[in-house]
């Protein structure tokens, strides 16, 4: 009789199982056959899924689908290597190793090692995200291009370059016991953090929610915890991701409008994800040293705990932004966020003054958020025509349709208020 797909993970829908399997297979085969074989390994893994497609259609899924796939991929890989070696007359007896039955621990270990290895490369973060998606997440090239809003060619080039630099590294994680992994984790945290944000960001620039990248980042973060369950930053990272993804359904309206926090229907927030977030936030407190990610997770938790917008504990949020500023140094984005939080504690013209200080070294990438914040302050201070002016400035710097719509809506909403103050 056929077996149903196992589904024992809260956010790992069956739709992502193949991807998860693919990452495991690539990692374990890379461990056994070396990073030099990566290209063959990727092909063998892909072909094993094609075999699964033709067999399972008729016979149902085998009892141990994962083992079935790994064996199929390994056999295909060995055949590929044999074919190559036959041409060059090299002895390949060493390759056809029989005792190949990796246990779960070994697989997880290999996955983490591959991830860390990618993050150790001296490459742009975006290349690291692309290569992680490619090797560890079972994303095909068109899927990566689609998720990151790139062309297929650009993705291919990036993968090619990363492969080259991976083959030129001598870093050997096999010799690295788990307890020494922690120092290498911070770069991986950064890659996963950005992968998650990329999912969030690209959602802004096209229709519908692009949650795939977010779920992948979460799955990979959970992988770290399987080997390092007490790692404080990883727990904080997962907390932050759960809090953010919990609120996704309320963020975009059915007409694909961006809904600001204030107007979000909080009943759409996913209570299970919020609970998960709280769970990981609790685990993350097991440290003396709070990270940036801890503080961001705490800010998100305050939003998630507020039953409505009015009862949000804004003073706490302001305090946490101040701590972030101490930790990270004052960045424009951080200050803008803090000013918005402060405006909800008490709107005042002082905030406009604080905003003005930012103008002298404002970079183009901040224009949009800056004018949005300025408009927001004017609205709270009932200066509607000035608010409209700032919204129009923001409109000039809006990158995507959804952002433009968001601002146009704001302008329409303040138009009647504008008249009442003018006369």
């Amino acid at each position: 009789m056929m077996n149903r797909l196992p589904n024992n993970d809260i956010f790992q829908s069956t739709a992502h199982l193949f991807r998860a399997y693919s990452g495991k297979m690539v990692a374990i085969l890379t461990r056994y056959y070396g990073v030099d074989q990566l290209e063959n390994i990727m092909d063998a893994v892909q072909e094993s899924f094609e075999s699964a497609l033709s067999h399972w259609r008729y016979k149902g899924m085998p009892n141990k689908p994962e083992a079935w796939l790994i064996t199929a991929a390994k056999n295909k890989l060995i055949n590929m290597i044999k074919r190559e070696h036959r041409a060059s007359n090299i002895d390949f007896s060493i390759i056809a190793e029989n005792n190949f039955s990796p246990d779960e621990k070994q697989i997880i270990d290999s996955q983490l090692q591959l991830l860390l290895r990618i993050c150790e490369l001296k490459l742009p973060l975006k290349s690291q995200i692309i290569f992680t998606l490619y090797t560890s997440s079972g994303f095909g090239i068109p899927e990566i291009a689609n998720a990151l809003l790139m062309t297929n060619e650009a993705v291919k080039k990036s993968i090619f370059r990363t492969k080259l630099s991976l083959q030129n590294t001598s870093f050997n994680f096999d010799e690295l016991p788990n307890k020494y992994l922690a120092p290498h984790l911070s770069q991986l945290h950064l890659v996963l953090y950005l992968m998650f944000n990329e999912g969030y960001k690209t959602t802004r620039s096209r229709e519908g929610l692009n949650t795939d990248l977010c779920y992948e980042a979460m799955r990979l973060a959970k992988l770290i915890l399987q080997l390092q369950p007490n790692d404080a930053v990883t727990n904080a990272l997962l907390a932050l991701m759960f809090f953010n993804i919990a609120r996704f359904p309320a963020r975009v309206s059915s007409q694909n409008f961006w809904i600001p926090l204030e107007q979000q229907d909080r009943s759409l927030w996913n209570p299970i994800f919020i609970k998960e977030g709280m769970y990981y936030l609790d685990l993350s407190k097991n440290t003396e040293q709070l990270s940036k990610i801890h503080l961001e997770a705490m800010i998100a938790s305050i939003h998630c705990c507020a039953t409505d917008f009015k009862t949000t504990e804004w003073p706490k949020i302001v305090y946490l932004y101040e701590q972030l500023q101490l930790l990270e140094g004052p960045s424009t984005a951080l200050i803008l966020n803090k000013i918005i939080a402060m405006s909800y504690v008490k709107p005042s013209t002082d905030l406009l003054t604080e905003l003005k200080i930012l103008t002298k070294d404002l970079k183009p990438k901040h224009y949009f958020f800056f004018y949005l914040t300025k408009a927001h302050l004017h609205v709270l201070l009932h200066q509607y025509s000035m608010a409209e002016g700032s919204y129009r400035e923001a409109l000039d710097h809006a990158q995507s349709e959804i952002d433009k719509q968001f601002i146009l809506n704001k302008i329409i909403n303040i138009a009647p208020l504008d008249k009442t103050t003018r006369y």
Binding site: M2, T14, A15, L53, Y58
Partner: protein, 118 residues
């Protein structure tokens, strides 16, 4: 009940699919077969390897299979149980392979003369 052979003819180039699409396809097929089993309409089914040979006529000329130009081939078969060709057609219309562009051929297995056919 009569027995029908369902042949799936398709361009078995699954490599073009993403892992998600592959998984979705397998899940659809498994759900379809499970329904058939539950209704007592499923007898057997098997995938066929894309490579094969063709042996022709008295000369017994062996070639690499019939479809040299195209990758299209019979990728698998099912034996279905149904009361009539019409009923079997309805069942076959739900076969998920159609969604990937397959062509389905449905043929009744001829009963032996000595068997009662109702």
């Amino acid at each position: 009940m009569k027995e029908f052979l369902l042949l799936i003819r398709e361009d078995a180039n699954y490599g073009q699919l993403t892992l998600e699409e592959m998984q979705a396809d397998i899940e659809k097929h498994m759900a379809w077969v499970e329904t058939l089993i539950a209704k007592g309409q499923f007898k057997d089914g098997n995938p066929l390897d894309a490579t094969g040979v063709h042996i022709r006529g008295k000369e017994k000329l062996v070639t690499d299979g019939p479809y040299i130009e195209s990758k299209e081939c019979i990728s698998g078969y099912y034996f279905l149980l149904a009361n009539s060709l019409e009923e079997a057609t309805l069942i076959a219309k739900d076969c998920p392979a159609l969604e990937l562009g397959a062509i389905i051929e449905l043929r009744e297995v001829m009963a032996h003369d000595e068997q009662a056919t109702e």
